[in-house]
Symmetry: C2
Subunit: 191 residues, 2 copies
DNA sequence: CGATTCTTTGAAAACAGTCAATCTGTGTGG
DNA sequence: CCACACAGATTGACTGTTTTCAAAGAATCG
């Protein structure tokens, strides 16, 4: 499964055979089965995590016990809880496996080493971070300004690959509307 | 007004007199008056911007012409549009001056130089970025899971300094509720 | 003081959430 | 292979919340 990451990397930066070997030697693959948890609320998240295959959801649970999905992660995306990783504090999030999944994990220290040894890698990570920050801003904008229908259509335009892999009620949770409302919106839009 | 930034820096990292001089020589102060625009939609944002004094709002305008506030920036905070700055693309945001304000500006290039010459500065910026990313995540969570009232009370707890400086209808815009609704919520909560 | 901006209020309409029931498809175990 | 369980999606009826529009008060600024 390391090949997936290798391909991902090669598409973004120039990496030598030696560098790839270094990277491979500092990471490890973990296989996960549906319904398993990669991270549970209260635990400290310790890794940088690249998804080679499969699908995950990261969610938080509120005081009323309701789950709210913060993000979906499929192959060629990153997952995890940056906040917990950087601060060392227990996570407020859960990461559940939605499909049998394989992830590539790097400890914080090993990831540091890779970034120091391969400047292009570091630049790539910074770029991903910047994009992900922009995506957050756009999501905030959507959340405060779109109607439920606009949220739905913008989601399926933006993430068609996710839309047809996860249950609708999870998309509802991601968008912040009830599953029933989303179902009705869908019916409307089917004209 | 550079003293404000100097104090901000000294509180966070150890900086020598020489380093401060370097920083000062690479930045410049800009004074802004209420109702002025620091950035307008369509323009490219070119600076890293620290607010020494005053208050700004960053907002986007949707297709229906409604404004939605993405962020408020007061003294000792950063402002600007990172996305436009890094990509070089026209901004989708506007930054309006709410109070007479003084900002400290650095071009991208000069900011780079500072970061290269002063590693602690770079680390500080990375830390701010990480925090700001976390704040975005928390705001997304609030937007998709809180009721209007919860959004309001969490806002005033989190940002009391802002709450009593900007008009209520702007807080409403920030939270994604109508000004009327916020006014009513407030009345309720006043018991 | 007069003008503008901000906040509040009321009434109606639109919208979204909840609860409960039904329907659909999938997959598992007997 | 069938029956059953289960997860997901849809629907209806109802409730509650939020928006909209319009107007009136309050506060602020020049």
């Amino acid at each position: 499964m390391f090949e997936v990451f290798q391909k991902y990397l090669s598409d973004k930066i120039a990496v030598s055979k030696e560098e790839l070997d270094l990277i491979q030697s500092l990471g490890f693959i973990k296989k996960l089965r549906k319904k398993q948890y990669l991270l549970q609320e209260g635990d400290v998240w310790k890794y940088h995590c690249f998804v080679c295959k499969g699908c995950l959801r990261t969610y938080r649970t509120d005081e009323k016990g309701q789950e709210h999905i913060m993000t979906f992660s499929i192959e060629n995306w990153w997952a995890g809880d940056r906040e917990s990783l950087l601060s060392g504090k227990p996570s407020v999030s859960n990461i559940e496996v939605l499909e049998n999944t394989e992830v590539l994990l790097f400890t914080k220290e090993n990831f540091e080493i890779i970034q120091q040894r391969i400047p292009a890698f570091k630049a790539m990570i910074e770029d991903i971070l910047a994009r992900s920050f922009n995506a957050s801003q756009n999501r905030i904008h959507a959340a405060i300004s779109y109607t439920a229908e606009e949220k739905y259509t913008s989601f399926i335009n933006k993430y068609p690959q996710i839309f047809n892999r996860v249950p609708l009620h999870m998309i509802a949770s991601y968008l912040g509307v009830s599953a029933e409302t989303l179902s009705r919106i869908r019916k409307q839009a089917a004209k």
